[in-house]
Symmetry: C3
């Protein structure tokens, strides 16, 4: 086992934040081309797939490894770092501890045994024909607004008027956010509508808020997929969120 | 019933904040000249009268309506809005729901039945001869300083020296803030002194903090009245606060 | 008894913050040359010695007094003050109340009876040969980083490589911060290493964070001494912290 990489603190934090929106631990795979992880939350409602190409790093060298990461702990430790720090990650031969160093600091972090962490889920094979691409902060704002009146939200595409809509129905109040053609970067004309838990979307929304563009893929009573780039285009995140049953 | 109005998010928030300092719901009256409300807190200690002239709106059209407003809910919903958003308020014919829209968002907010809300109080007919006009932030600062040592504060005018004073007596400590003639915009020479609960004043103080000028009217062991303009002069707030009995 | 002094709010707050990191009350001594206090925390683990020369004040006049200060209360009261306020402190003849005034505010604060406060500790006579001088914010950053993985930290000097190090061992993780010769303002070559509680260091660290230079004095399993100037060089603080026993 070998890993030696140097990375901007910003990119490392962005990646950890994206993962920690869903899970507290994960299996991190590294090989000569970069890093990746795929994990499902404990309730089996949401999945994250994250990859960082070796180009996302200042320098990167790795054999094929599987590391057990305590994401919650990483978040605490890397929260201390300044935004312009360069971080060196190193996995010694025995592979039980990750060495992290920057600016005179040297951490030794015990890794988890990957076998104690849930196996990587298989990416489900689903067809989500509805597509809309819009700014992550617009998406996040609508999620926040909806969560004031309800705990679930419908996302849909109205093909007749080429509208993407987010709609939340509370006990007494209702909120609807429509995005016309001129407010999104792309929209197709495939009808779509599914209901989702705002609990999950709020955490994902905070991460997507920083993305210039998020591609949302939708079906009818189907999961939603949110895809966006991180690390200046050298990393990619995909959230998959199962729908809730719409009560009549 | 009909209402259709457009207003700056800022002005709407300022008005809701002023009301929510005292009550969680109120009867809002609208007619062709604007909006107004008058409400008393549950303990009958403080009253707010608020009015917004139609000039406070970008556009305003209304028949004579009485709307039951859940102020606490409004505060949550409008807390989401950006400060430069233009908000459209609309009351459809049936009058049970208020439609609010801005920037692609459309809310439908169920109104309360006005008959379930306390009747508007009559404005009491009291003579408060002492008058001082000063900056709202100075007033708020003195309220905050007093609340460190006590839970009540005396407000008074010393006619001999033309001083407005705020004085709080704690168990062991004492604080007094005097405003000389040169620190206030106006003061008359009518002796006044009454004791008030800081609980109420702290909430009012946060609202008054933004007012360039607050007119304070005082008597001897009488209520205090705090009057100030909002909405760039096109709105007005009056707080009336009952005195506490001064223990010897 | 007499005391009449004028001081910048900033300097007063800085001094109160330094004391309140360790104790909630203290005996404050004043005489014609300035003010000073020395106090030990309730667990007898840490001591503070603080002095303010009369040059730290805009004006200063005092007889020899001993004042019983409720530091926690002072912190609340002076937290209200703006950073450029000039504060007048005055002790009337009877000496039971301290009068504090600034910008139209007049406080009267009841002092504690000095006899109810622990006697001033004697400064212990200990030899701490290891010395390093570095920026207070670097010191504080290392303390904060260590507290993520552990509740204790070792401070030491490695004479062979002229390194000052801070090292914390958690249950599973380890962090080490080394300061080379070029990162400190001064270091001598006296071997030193002792273990300290991060509980205390975190509170001290927040105060030291503002100091341009902190002189750290160390021994082997001995207390640590942290000395730094406040009030633009006209005040001085010394923290003394007892070591913890290093478990094997």
């Amino acid at each position: 086992m070998m890993l030696k990489a140097t990375i901007d603190a910003d990119i490392l934090k962005e990646s950890i934040d994206a993962i920690s929106a869903l899970v507290t631990e994960c299996r991190l795979h590294t090989d000569e081309t970069g890093m990746s992880t795929r994990a499902v939350d404990t309730a089996n409602v949401a999945m994250i797939s994250l990859s960082l190409k070796k180009e996302a790093f200042e320098s990167f060298e790795s054999t094929k490894n599987e590391l057990g990461m305590d994401i919650a702990k990483m978040k605490n430790i890397f929260g201390m770092m300044g935004k312009d720090d360069l971080i060196i990650l190193e996995l010694p031969d025995d592979g039980h501890k990750l060495k992290v160093s920057f600016e005179g600091y040297r951490y030794s972090i015990t890794l988890l045994d990957p076998n104690t962490i849930r196996k990587d889920p298989n990416p489900p094979n689903i067809d989500l024909p509805g597509k809309v691409v819009l700014s992550g902060s617009e998406l996040n704002n609508a999620i926040k607004a909806a969560s004031v009146v309800s705990d679930k939200i419908a996302l849909g595409i109205d093909p007749a008027s080429s509208l993407f809509y987010m709609s939340a129905e509370g006990d007494t109040d209702h909120i609807r956010r429509e995005f016309g053609k001129n407010e999104v970067n792309y929209i197709n004309s495939s009808e779509a509508r599914s209901l989702f838990s705002l609990d999950y979307l709020k955490d994902m929304g905070k991460v997507m808020n920083k993305a210039e563009e998020v591609e949302v893929s939708l079906g009818i009573d189907h999961p939603a997929k949110f895809s966006f780039y991180i690390a200046g285009g050298n990393g990619h995140v995909e959230y998959l969120l199962a729908p809730r049953i719409e009560a009549d």
